[in-house]
Structures are given as structure tokens and as C-alpha cells.
């Protein structure tokens, strides 16, 4: 049975696309461009949303709540930066993966503050994005801004350093470029991009529970980062478009809603397999390795 596409559906998809694009900028810069497997993006995504909603539930204004939210994200991202500076690459990846589970456990168990597994309902949108259409266009503007910032980063010294770091960190350091500073910068940028995405996402959903973020979100953004293998913004935009919108085809099929989410993850896995097996060899130029 084919459902009719409404304006509401259009704006929801536009908003989803933009939220994912904002968040994927960070994943693209860390994973695809720099080769830093920073898996903590879902943590700052969820943390920003929880901190904002909890602060507002305590009666604080939007501006103060936003300041609290970004301060919480700053603390979390500084912890990630310290881990990046102190741990080996592999250990850093495991640490950031574990942080997703730790955050999930904290949210579920601290139910007096977070609402536990039941979550927090009835989250109101700020006045300037009071309707879904307004929110979607606001998110669209933010997504364009995020992609423009990434474009600037890739064109500048930091972008070149990040691309070079992925290949040979020792050679980068021998040129007088601090690998630690570049890595720390990109982790901070990545965390804040995810935080912005988390905040606008919660304004769309108006409901927050532990399933917001987590491993499912990580699978999505890692898939995008890997498909957008080249350090180019248009690749990121293209990958985001595919990953967010293609699985939507599943909605138009008469499938039980309980399996649609699982099918979407299966779809991501298939895309990754195809990408790794066939497309990457054809799209990326052949180089001499021996």
C-alpha cells in the first residue's frame, strides 16, 4: 500500500536529512578525513539534548539551557580529547565506544532526572521554530552552514594536516605540525556538530528517551563517513542523502513497523559491503603501494 506524501512528511525528511548532515560533518572529519575512529558522537548528540531538556524542565530559559547544554558537551568533549592524547588509537576507539554504553546506562538508571527508559515527553519547541516547516528550514540553514564550515576546514591548513595525518602521523610531525593539536581540534568540532544536531533533533521529535542516539545512530553515521570516503563535502552530502533517504523506500512497503528499523540497519550493512567490495576500487584512483 503506497502512502500519500504530505508536506509534513516532506519537512520531516528534510529535517532528518539536515540533522544527519550536521552530525556527519564531525564523523566525516574524524573518520574519513583524519582516520581518527572517534565513536563518541552519539554521546555528545544525546548529552546536548538531555542537558537542554533537563535545564528547561528546571524552569531555565532557552538561552541559559543552551549554555548549560554546550557546557556539558564541552566537558564531555574535553574528556574525549584527553583520552585521544593519552591512549593509543585502538584504545581511544574502544574508550569512545564504551562511552556510548556508559552514557546509555547513566540515562536509564538516573530516572529521577532523565525519566529512565520512559524518557521525557512533551518537549516544547522554541518560538522561532514553532512549526515543523520553520524548524526544517532552520535546520536546512544550519546544515548548509555546517557543510560550508567543513569546506573551509578542508581547504585550510587544518584540513591538509588532517588528511596528511591519516596517511603518516610521523611525517606530519616532522613538518612541524602538531598531530595532537589537529586531532584534538577535530574531536571538539565533531562533538559540537553532534551537539547542535542533537538539539535540533529533539526539537523535531519533542520526545527524549534512551533510544535517542546510541549504537544505531553510530552505525548510520559511520556508514555515511565510510561511503563519503573522499575528503570532499559533496561526497558527504551525497552519502548523507543516500543513507537517510533510500531506506525510506521501506516505509512505503506494507511491512510491520517493528522490523523496519532492523531492515534499515541491514540496508546500511549491505551498502557498506557493496562500497567496500566494488565501488571504492572504481571510484578511488589507483596508487602505487609497492
Amino acid at each position: 500500500m503506497i502512502k500519500v506524501i504530505s508536506m509534513g512528511y516532506f519537512f520531516t525528511q528534510l529535517a532528518r536529512l539536515c540533522e544527519t548532515a550536521i552530525m556527519s560533518v564531525g564523523a566525516h572529519l574524524t573518520i574519513a578525513v583524519s582516520g581518527i575512529f572517534f565513536m563518541g558522537i552519539p554521546v555528545t548528540f544525546s548529552l546536548a539534548a538531555y542537558a537542554l531538556v533537563i535545564a528547561q524542565n528546571f524552569g531555565l530559559s532557552l538561552v541559559v539551557s543552551l549554555i548549560i547544554s554546550f557546557s556539558a558537551v564541552l566537558i564531555a568533549s574535553l574528556i574525549f580529547v584527553i583520552a585521544y592524547l593519552k591512549l593509543s588509537d585502538d584504545s581511544f576507539t574502544v574508550f569512545t565506544l564504551a562511552s556510548i554504553l556508559a552514557f546509555d546506562a547513566a540515562v536509564k538508571s538516573w530516572d529521577s532526572l532523565t525519566g529512565g527508559v520512559l524518557g521525557i515527553a512533551g518537549i516544547s519547541r522554541p518560538e522561532f521554530v514553532s512549526t515543523l516547516a520553520k524548524l526544517a528550514w532552520f535546520q536546512f540553514a544550519l546544515a548548509i552552514l555546517a557543510l560550508a564550515i567543513e569546506q573551509v576546514i578542508l581547504k585550510t591548513r587544518l584540513g591538509r594536516a588532517l588528511r596528511a595525518m591519516k596517511e603518516d602521523k610521523y611525517l606530519v610531525e616532522s613538518l612541524g605540525i602538531s598531530r595532537r593539536r589537529a586531532g584534538a581540534t577535530v574531536i571538539l568540532i565533531s562533538s559540537f556538530a553532534a551537539a547542535v544536531s542533537g538539539i535540533v533533533s529533539i526539537w523535531r521529535l519533542q520526545f527524549l528517551d534512551p533510544s535517542f542516539g546510541g549504537i544505531i545512530l553510530l552505525i548510520q553515521i559511520v556508514t555515511i563517513a565510510i561511503i563519503a570516503a573522499k575528503p570532499k563535502v559533496r561526497w558527504l552530502a551525497f552519502a548523507t542523502l543516500i543513507i537517510v533517504l533510500l531506506p525510506e523506500a521501506l516505509r512505503f512497503l506494507d511491512l510491520p513497523s517493528s522490523i523496519v528499523g532492523h531492515l534499515r540497519n541491514l540496508f546500511y550493512a549491505l551498502i557498506l559491503l557493496v562500497m567496500i567490495k566494488n565501488i571504492s576500487d572504481k571510484l578511488l584512483p589507483q596508487k602505487r603501494f609497492i
Binding site: T156, E167, L171, S174
Partner: protein, 252 residues
Amino acid sequence: MNKEDLICIENLNVKFGQQMVLDNVSLGIRAGEVVGLIGPNGCGKTTLLNAISGFVPIEAGTISFDGRDIMNLAPDKRATLGIGRSFQHAGVFKELSVADNIIIGAEKAEKFPWWWMFASHYRKKMDKIVNNTLEDVNLLAHKTSLAGILSGGQIRLLELARLQLFEGKLLLIDEPTAGVAPALRQQLAKTIKKLNQEYGFTVIIVEHDLKFLFNLVDRVVVLVDGCKYIEGTPEEIQKDKRLQEIYFGNGD
């Protein structure tokens, strides 16, 4: 050691696990000198370069550069102070274009602001630097190609071309002729001489091709089993019978 030395290494020990890779090595190198480091495989030549550039932890000893103790500085800080480096396995970024490989060195050396890409006068200036540098090593035709498609010899030339732009005093060059065809070796030697004579770099070269090395250097230091065995001019080194036994074998 004397006060005029640009780099002064004293009683340097480097250990990997239980193995002493450099054992009590002391060496002083004057500004403007070209010094060759030779010795059998595994004698610690590359480790000595790594110790100078800060890539290996040091067990004991001191290293000072330009009168300053650099023992506690990270590799990027040592490079900023003026210690440049080329690696045994050619030091270019294969995923970056040939031009970007030059730009990544030039933007640091020329102290361009971070936003230089967005200002036309800086872009023109950089374009000129890139073109001149690549023309110098006959790589201008490959400017927009990925460095990964270059041959081994061209990669070496690209690496040395980037070193020309390095804002510093000392270059550590590790096995420049490795994987390079004899026809290109002359060009490599010419480029290294130019780095010393025109650009004023003090150079330390690790090299197994002794003919290539002896034509290039003022002084040779021989390492054997992590210890400094002998040092002298190329002529003195070639005459040394002990070296011939240890480095070339005893002829049996």
C-alpha cells in the same frame, strides 16, 4: 664537542626492550657540514636520526640543537626549531596531490595565515612557490596528480623539493637512494648539494651507497652495533682497514 656545533649529542643511549640500540654515542656536527652515517644494517643509523628528531624515547644522554636542550621537545616542536627530516620509506603523502605535498611544507615555512587560501595574493604567491619548486625537480607536469602515482625516484625528488622550502638549519636524510634508479641518483645528489650550498642546511645522511655518499659528504661517521666506531673524512674512512673488515667483511 665544541660550542660551535649546531647539534651536539652526548653519551646517547637508546634501548628497545632489553636491546641497546644506541650505546653511549657522542657526536658533534658543525653548521654547514654534510655528514654521512654508515654502518651495517641494524647498527642504529636510523635510530640516531629518530632520536634527534624526537621519534624514539631516550634512555640516557643529551641532545642539544643550536645551543638549546631539545630532549623534552615533541617531534613537531623540534621541526619548528629547525630540524627537518626525510624518511627511509619516502616521506610524501600519497593521498595528497603533488602540489599539496609542497603546499603543506610551504605554508608552514612561509608563515602564511590559516585563511591564505581565500586571499588571491596569497594564492598567487603559493602558486609561484609550488611551480618553481616542482620545476626544479622536473615534476611540474605532475602538479595536480596524486603523489601516489609517482615512481620511487620521483617521490624522492618530491620529498627533497619540499625540504628545500623547510625553514630550518638541519636536515636528516635517511637513505635517499633507496629504490632510486642510477639515472636519477645524480639529480638526487645535485639536489642534496644544493640544499647544503645554496640553502645553507647542515645535512646528516644515512646511506648504503658509499660511492654516492663519499662524493657528497665532508665527514663520515661509522656506527657498529649501536656504538660509534670511527669517524673521519671520506678518504680517511676508505683507508681504514678495521672498517673494511667490519663494514665490508674480511674478504674470505
